[in-house]
């Protein structure tokens, strides 16, 4: 009998002890929490201005139209992120909860000073997920962007999140980067980070007026350009074409548009369905060089003009033109980044992997070495299909 009680006690004890294992956690009701969907960081004279966008559940899901905005913005100045976040309780009735943070926007000036403290906070603090996107405000402050209402999505940060994600998938004119990738790019020796830019076009005069927003033709918040970083510090911008080149060079294009344009050909637009970048490091005359072979598969989607696309040689011509376009995008991107001395392509890593001994000698001076790194780009463009019709319908009539 005694041993039976002993056993029961042992089982109970081990169960009770289990409950001590669950670490730091706390029970909080949904309606005591304010869910932060976006955070913005700007530099001020005294320190940091943190802007926090919190969704307003009542306004978002209400059946009736409520005279409330779908998001609420809080700002707080300070020097320390956690302190600012906590201090917001003095303004907001609910505790800030960062578990659903979707986008983090850096002001340009803030990014120039370095974003490492923010990244450290996000990776160290337990409540954050790692799947938020990062962006840099171009020509404005993060605060301004977060204060702006957007179209279609009621939640501006949701809009930013979705358009970053989908444009990364089908447009390739920017780079959606998440926490882990960003941190890896920063801490890696032979690599640098690039974060997409966000711009305010034609900011509405009356910010809170939803009617004014509806009258606008263009969404006020647009994704544009790419911010290039050296370590954790912002260096400069590259434009859309250069950004495409960057994505081609890193093999990051999953779907985009390609085009061939000349007097003879007219303008032919293609949907790029598959790309692949083979990157190799080589040694030529005691100097390292990089060879990138880019394979692009594309389908013709739109033909402007009367060019006969049913002929094999004409197709080859189109392929060549399109390949040249991609090549020029790549080279443009290389020229610009070499100017900045920022290897955002990870070529340094490539050399590190192929020639580890040599890497040790250039490791500390990679930024300079990169400026003089010869990179040869070869594009192999393949048109797989021309769509269900051969030549444009209108060709015959014209002849």
């Amino acid at each position: 009998m005694k041993s039976k009680w002993k056993r029961i006690f042992a089982v109970l004890l081990s169960v009770v002890m289990c409950f001590n294992l669950c670490g730091c956690w706390n029970s909080r009701e949904l309606n005591t929490l304010a869910f932060v969907t976006s955070m913005g960081f700007d530099k001020t004279d005294t320190g940091i201005l943190m802007t926090v966008q919190v969704f307003n559940p009542r306004a978002i899901a209400s059946q009736k139209t409520v005279n409330e905005t779908s998001v609420i913005v809080y700002t707080q100045e300070g020097k320390d992120i956690l302190e600012m976040l906590r201090r917001m309780i003095t303004q907001s009735p609910r505790k800030m909860n960062g578990t659903h943070l979707q986008t983090v926007i850096f002001g340009e000036d803030f990014a120039k000073d370095g974003i490492s403290m923010v990244l450290d906070f996000f990776t160290r603090e337990h409540q954050f997920r790692t799947d938020m996107y990062f962006a840099v405000a171009h020509g404005t402050t993060a605060n301004n962007i977060l204060k702006t209402q957007t179209k279609l999505e009621t939640n501006p940060s949701n809009k930013l999140f979705s358009s970053l994600k989908s444009s990364d998938e089908i447009w390739a004119g920017n780079k959606a980067i998440k926490l882990i990738e960003l941190v890896n790019a920063i801490v890696s020796d032979g690599n640098n980070a690039a974060i997409t830019g966000v711009e305010l076009t034609n900011p509405p005069q009356d910010k809170d007026n939803i009617n004014a927003l509806q009258r606008m033709e263009e969404d006020p918040v647009v994704i544009k350009n790419l911010a290039v970083f050296n370590k954790d510090k912002f260096v400069g911008w590259i434009n859309e074409d250069e950004c495409k080149g960057y994505n081609y060079l890193t093999g990051n294009v999953s779907e985009t548009l390609g085009s061939a344009e000349s007097k003879e050909v007219g303008k032919i637009t293609m949907e790029v369905t598959h790309t692949d970048a083979k990157r190799r490091a080589a040694f030529v005359n005691g100097k390292p060089s990089i060879n990138v072979e880019i394979h692009v598969d594309a389908n013709i989607e739109n033909v402007t003009g009367t060019y006969d696309i049913t002929k094999e040689e004409n197709l080859n011509k189109i392929e060549k033109l399109a390949a040249e376009k991609v090549e020029s995008q790549c080279l443009g991107s290389l020229i610009r980044t070499k100017e900045y001395g920022c290897d955002i392509y990870g070529f340094g890593e490539l050399i590190h992997r192929t020639y580890p001994q040599y890497w040790k000698t250039v490791k500390n001076n990679w930024s300079e070495e990169f400026r003089n790194l010869p990179v040869s780009v070869k594009v192999d463009y393949k048109i797989l299909a021309t769509g269900p019709q051969g030549n444009p319908f209108f060709e015959k009539e014209n002849k």
Partner: protein, 510 residues
Amino acid sequence: MGKNGISSSISENLKQITNTIGNDLDFTVRVFDILLNKHVLKGAVIFINGMADTNKLNSLSMELNETILSQTWDGLTLEDCFIKLKTSLLCQVKVSVGSDSETIYEEVLSGNTILLLDGMDRYLILNTIGPDGRSITESTSQTIIRGPKEAFTEKLTVNITLIRRIIKAKSLKIEKMSIGNLTKTNVAILYLDQIAKEEMLNEVRTRLKNIKVDSILDSGYIEEYIKDDPNSIFPTILNSERPDAVAGNLLEGKIAVLVDGSPYVLTVPAFFIDFMQVSEDYYHHYIISSFIRLLRYVALILTLIVPAFYIALTTFHQEMIPTTLLVSIAAQREGVPFPAFVEVFLMEIIFEILREAGIRMPRAVGSAISIVGALVLGQAAVQAGIISAFIVIIVSITAITSFAIPNYEMSNAVRIIRFGFMILSTCFGLFGVFIGLVLLTLHLSKLKSLGIPYMTPLAPANVQENKDALIRFPLWKMRYRPRMISKAKTPRVQTEPPVSSEQSKNQEIY
């Protein structure tokens, strides 16, 4: 004939019996005279009106009358008369001879008729046990779409017949015993000789014999007394209202316990998977049956943890909810005065009350409860902002899924455990839920039914027996009976399907 034998004087006997049974409301004594050798020989018939079958009594009395009035009595001895009566009545009902005074009461009280003859210290027991009671109807608590619809009745003999009609084998053995000092309830053990294991049979016999109680009113009493772990909430004895289900179990080597007065037949051993199966599974196509079985397990898991998960996710792990879903949940929680736990608990309790009320209520007011349940508790409570609409969905999911568990006892067990999970998740979040799941698994693995692990064939894993567990293999693939239960080693299926694939390909009949 010992001290318990009856006296040879009929008046003394009648006096004693009348005194003991002591009422004349249904207790009937009919006295008749036989003219034997110029003497009057007194005889008496005793029965209980209502317990004895009226039809049988009528034909008996006609036969008795004819026999008495026949002219062939002269010259017979008393013994001869007794035998003459016995043989003449034998053509109407089953007749046996008794001499014990105690047996008279037992026989009379169970509906038999006793014939006493003056001067004899023996009596005739005429089998007039009463009408069949309720006729065989469709099963009400275990309904099916396809398959035999007959259900057991309260009458033991009828129930045995129902099984015998399915299994017409001489190896179907029946053992009878009576349990209950006052109710003297007849209990029968049914099994298939050669297939049921002897040790299990002995175990059932011993357990039944050890029951020492006044009354057995339903098979539920027996179940509670012979259960392996009486404190476990999980049923370890299967009850069924359906003869085909019981026959199926018998054919696997299980043992059935039939209780007079209860339309629910017990079968032992019963495993966890048995409570998630219905006999209909074998009547449909095996792919469909397998799908439905898996569906039931999904339902089981859902009904167990959906409310707990909701509490855990909304109060502890908001990061696990997709952002858009979180927005809509948060919007509904807006302005709701109670914490999520109170909300869920309230609604679950109300649902359980609604369910209980629905069972007990007279049919005539049945519609009232659905109106109150659906409109007042569902819609109005949400509109009034007392609970959030999401809770109504959660409670509905648990309700619907709990009905998908085919066995009522299992469904009840899960209902209770669900509340435990809700408390765990309120205190410890998902961590608590998983601790609960671990404890539940431990408990289930510990349970036994008639000494065989409850989770068979999942926990002592057995590939062969898993052919009829979570999914159902085609019938011809289940060649052997479950080895844990049955002792017969011969295959129960001899052939592949008689239509071979080649046949169905080549043979064309115009």
